[in-house]
């Protein structure tokens, strides 16, 4: 007679699926520019707003955005949070500042990191400028900008 074992109450089911992700036309163009150290957004022909990163369309107007606009790597903090917990898939050690930054020449903030400043001194309305990684590290990623730092005197 076989020994009695604990009844089964659970199972483990590994599910692994492979995907090949395509960045999309608009994002591809954006990432290609950022690889060269340029931030290129798109202007909506309907509302004239400039989007960075661009999506190839304006979600407000529902129309394609094609006109490309080079914008500054300097802008202003619209809102922010200090992240105190580690984020899976993100190697940055907490606490760190994640801020919605409205780049000069754009009309919608983009979420990026703010550093080189005491977290407690970050404030809404603070002017910040991109801290680019060394050119040899540039790739197809917005992370070519390591973070934004306060503009002197702001």
């Amino acid at each position: 007679m076989s020994e009695t074992r604990e009844p089964i109450t659970g199972i483990e089911v590994p599910i692994n699926l492979q995907f090949k992700f395509t960045a999309g036309k608009a994002l591809t163009r954006f990432l290609t520019s950022i690889r060269e150290g340029r931030i290129v957004g798109q202007r909506c022909p309907g509302c004239n707003n400039v989007y960075v990163p661009p999506r190839g369309m304006c979600a407000a107007c529902g129309i394609p955005t094609e006109e490309e606009v080079s914008v500054s790597d300097e802008g202003v903090i619209e809102s922010f949070t200090v992240v105190h917990i580690p984020i899976p898939g993100n190697p940055i050690k907490p606490p760190f500042v994640a801020a919605n930054i409205l780049l000069d020449g754009t009309d919608m903030a983009c979420l990026h990191r703010v550093s080189e400043v005491d977290n407690a001194k970050v404030h809404v309305g603070m002017r910040v400028k991109a801290r680019w990684k060394p050119r040899e590290e540039w790739d197809y990623t917005f992370e070519n900008i390591a973070w934004f730092r306060p503009v002197e005197g702001s």
């Binding site: 199972i11 492979q18 591809t28």
Partner: protein, 148 residues
């Protein structure tokens, strides 16, 4: 000078996770029995035996609680022959998926049949479970079925 714009930016990624599923009493009992090398079904109020043990009767929606032992041999009711297994398949050689009605069951269960070649397969053939040596309470405790 800027490089030409790449037509495509593509990159591979994996969506992978090992799900932890709680079984509840009915599926748990079926899997516990499977670990012991036995196959059980559940009996509906009108006497049909559903294998693998179903939690609910697909006809009446009633919850099923009465277990019935069935055989580990049965009949292939239909089958498909996988010529080129894909990476997820558990057998990496030509094999069959089949619906198999076990002796004592009123419905067929889905599993695999290792018959060696397509010509050895036919509907109505009798097959027997090939049990894993080490069983842990999974539908894969039956490695596959094989012709008797």
């Amino acid at each position: 000078m800027a490089e030409p714009t790449p037509e495509l930016l593509t990159k591979s990624f994996e969506l992978g996770y090992t799900y932890t599923r709680s079984t509840g009493p009915v599926i748990g009992h079926f899997l516990s029995e499977l670990r012991e090398g036995r196959i059980v079904g559940t009996r509906t109020s009108d006497g049909r035996v559903l294998v693998p043990a179903a939690e609910y009767d697909p006809v009446s929606a009633e919850a099923l609680t009465e277990f019935v032992n069935v055989g580990d041999e049965g009949v292939v009711t239909t089958w498909s022959w996988v010529v080129d297994p894909i990476s997820h398949h558990l057998m990496q050689k030509p094999f069959a998926f089949a619906l198999i009605q076990l002796d004592g069951a009123d419905v067929a269960m889905l599993h695999m049949v290792d018959a060696g070649s397509e010509s050895a397969m036919r509907s109505g053939m009798r097959v027997r479970a090939r049990w894993a040596a080490e069983r842990r309470g999974s539908i894969t405790d039956i490695i596959c079925f094989e012709p008797t």
